[in-house]
């Protein structure tokens, strides 16, 4: 599945998105582990990173699957 990246995470990955191999639906907590394992360059940024699923903030116990729109980014600093 595709995961969009923003700000520090995009710079680190040198890409606007990454692909993650996922075997069916899982949780946000599991997804974080899968990303860290498959994209080592992002590993140290993941603990602080926020996950959005279908454009809403998502939390560790939330479900996430290949059909969702998923994004990974640092705490926001706009305004």
């Amino acid at each position: 599945m595709k995961i969009q990246l923003f700000a520090t995470l995009r710079d680190r990955a040198k890409a606007r998105s990454i692909e993650v191999a996922l075997e069916g639906p899982t949780t946000v907590a599991e997804l974080r582990k899968v990303i860290a394992a498959q994209h080592a360059a992002l590993a140290d940024l993941l603990p602080q990173a926020l996950v959005a699923v279908n454009q809403e903030f998502a939390f560790d116990e939330d479900a996430v699957g290949p059909d969702n729109e998923v994004a990974l980014f640092p705490p926001v600093s706009g305004g």
Binding site: A7, Q55, P75, V76, G78, G79
Partner: protein, 153 residues
């Protein structure tokens, strides 16, 4: 006439405060309060006090949704307000330029527009997925946010 206009914009265009004032002002309004965030050039006391430029990036689709959510929350908390405009600019901006505007109208100056504008900018800075990269004389770096969203944000 729509008594509760809501304008949401995530845009690369310059912010036009005159247009935003006109857009939020209904026939019921004698008061408009605008918060405008600008690119600060000098931050006394900071390790690197001088900013040359800011570059803003957004997760556009989610940012627009979250701007709408901020407007809904403003209406829930401040029943006396009428018009709301929330504009976040993205792209490169020089020192002094307006980056964000929260503009609120209400009948009288005690009707909640000051409080709603303050609430609006506070929430925008918490939940709208926008990030800024700061260019200083010594290089550039993303500005770190510190708000961790909770369920419902």
């Amino acid at each position: 006439m729509n008594d509760t206009p809501t304008l949401i914009a995530l845009t690369e265009a310059a912010i036009d405060l005159n247009a935003l004032q006109r857009a939020v002002t209904t026939d019921l309004d004698g008061t408009v309060v605008a918060f405008i965030g600008t690119v600060r050039g000098v931050t006394p006391g900071a390790a690197e006090p001088v900013t040359t430029r800011l570059e803003y990036e957004a997760y556009a689709a989610m940012a627009e949704n979250k701007l709408r959510q901020v407007a809904r929350e403003m209406r829930e908390k401040f029943a006396g307000i009428h018009g709301i405009a929330l504009t976040q600019r993205v792209g490169e901006m020089a020192v002094g330029e307006p980056v964000v505007a929260v503009v609120v109208s209400c009948g009288h100056r005690g009707g909640g527009a000051f409080e709603a504008a303050r609430y609006g900018i506070d929430r925008l800075k918490q939940i709208v997925p926008v990030w800024k990269k700061e260019t200083r004389p010594d290089g550039s770096a993303w500005v770190e946010g510190d708000y961790v969203p909770a369920r419902g944000d």
